[in-house]
Symmetry: C2
Subunit: 325 residues, 2 copies
């Protein structure tokens, strides 16, 4: 979006909290002073916090948290993820549904879909994901790893590790991974991840990693039935967190661990994952599509599956929902 509006935004961004005269902007972009004013007003309508003063000019207050391509790309230290198109929707059924559709149409690896609000947010096992307006992060990432579909489940643990480090970066402690890829803080759910794939027997076409992280949602803004089991950055820190900053950190972490995975270094991810998940030795119940198992976790396999010691012998578990018992 290299129009005048985005050029003005870039100028203001490069000197945040400093006055820049309308004349200077008008001169450097070769547009009229009234065009500058018009565009500044448009930016303000988009939600940017810009002060204007006839004598001094304009300045951008960097406490705004507008989800848009410019804001997210500004200073983003990644090479792929977030560096392609970033599509931001106000209201959408589900970012994963949209991303799957765009990936089917050929959108490249690194494309990002964001929404302020989802009307049919999807969780694992067909569950709904509560998605109120403007509070949290609802993001879907398109990747096209050159791997066999048998290796696709590894991205489940990889994305969990990326989110884990993103949350810790914001000075939140007691972060824990619940197998396979829910993220808990103080034992309550702060993030859910849903990886959806298109592939054939030989290779993966693409994977959509859908991530929902509760950021500024207050306790009383959660549905009542979730208030005992869910949490957010706001609940933990008792203050607002900029979603754009979290998204940037998430994209950088996702890229870092994704590159580890695709370069064949899943062992390091798995080692980290095992350390965070602390599931070995625990007694759990696993609920799958058709059956459930109770047992003690003996080990994690090289593929990230659980080896469960049950009454009927050792079972290898690759998916499902677990409860500690």
């Amino acid at each position: 979006m290299e129009n005048s509006r985005s050029k003005i935004l870039k100028i203001l961004y490069n000197s945040p909290e400093q006055w820049i005269s309308g004349e200077e902007i008008s001169h450097s972009l070769s547009i009229t002073r009234s065009a500058v004013w018009k565009n500044i007003n448009l930016l303000r309508e988009m939600g940017y916090s810009i002060d204007s003063c006839t004598k001094r000019g304009h300045k951008l207050t960097i406490d705004n948290d507008i989800l848009d391509e410019f804001n997210i790309k500004h200073g983003l230290r990644s090479e792929i993820f977030g560096q392609r198109e970033i599509l931001v929707f106000d209201t959408i059924d589900s970012t994963n549904i949209k991303a799957f559709q765009l990936a089917t149409e050929g959108y490249p690896e690194g494309t990002i879909i964001l929404a302020q609000q989802q009307t049919s947010g999807k969780g694992r096992l067909g569950r709904r994901w509560s998605s109120p307006y403007g509070k949290n992060i609802y993001i879907s990432i398109i990747s096209r790893p050159f791997i066999s579909p048998m290796d696709a489940p590894k991205l489940t643990l990889t994305s969990a590790i990326a989110v884990f480090h993103t949350i810790e970066k914001f000075n939140i402690s007691n972060v824990e991974i619940k197998w396979p890829n829910d993220i808990l803080v103080n034992g309550k759910k702060i993030c859910g991840i849903l990886n959806e794939m298109k592939g054939d027997s030989d290779s993966v076409d693409f994977i959509i990693t859908g991530i929902g992280i509760n950021i500024n949602q207050k306790l009383n803004e959660f549905p009542e039935e979730l208030q005992n089991t869910a949490t957010s950055f706001e609940i933990i820190k008792n203050q607002t967190t900029g979603r754009v900053e979290v998204i940037k950190a998430l994209l950088e972490n996702f890229e870092k661990y994704y590159k580890m995975l695709t370069s064949g270094n899943f062992e390091d991810i798995l080692a980290q994952w095992s350390a965070k998940a602390q599931i070995v030795g625990k007694k759990i119940k696993v609920q799958q599509l058709k059956e459930s198992f109770v047992g003690t976790v003996k080990d994690i396999t090289v593929d990230g599956n659980l080896l469960l010691d049950t009454d009927a012998g050792i079972k290898e578990i690759s998916s499902g929902d677990i409860n500690y018992i």
Copy 2:
């Protein structure tokens, strides 16, 4: 399509090769004699072979091979596959692309996509599948098995067994399965299968089974580079085969083995598959996305993978392209 045209077709179908008077048809459908004539002419334009004679009436010659929903459903002994919608396209990019799109939109298990011709027919490993007009079968089947994505590769072998039995039913011998799911006759390729899946870590959303079977394509109608390696019903039997009959047999066989798979009885499919594929003990080269292996096949695992005895030890191979060496 319960319009007059399809009702007339049904009447003719119920007494094939027999004259039925225009008056009788006009009476039983409560339409005029001229409406009967009009619809008979439309059917003829669609390709149905209908004789008409002023004194005697109309009769359907059952040597026609029109791909349409009515023809395929007529006498089809299945409960799911082919009993939902059957969409027939004249020219389409690829039946798998269309089926994937329809399944994403929610089309149910059992939906069938057919085409007279594909402009971008897809084979395994991103290869093209030669798809000339009106000669062969290009079909995609939507299934929604209630299985873990780890079990999805089993449908690869299951679909191969269904095609195997379909071809044998038409008195073709020397049929052989080339791992994982190419079908050869006299060592030449007669069928390719491409299974594409949408799923998440916990479950399969749908699988598209795309099957291309060479039926009435003559040797000189194949691209020159394929003439030594491809074959068809026509080349083997030196006569034309009705595609509709093959499609019916295919849908019935697909359903039979699909039900075995989803009821948890993959062992029987695998046992059959192993008997047909005769790969154990053979020395092969496997070409995968990134690497290739040479070795002797020791065994087939319970998941349908190859256990390959290589210089570097036993390797389990779940996908790839093989050559006997």
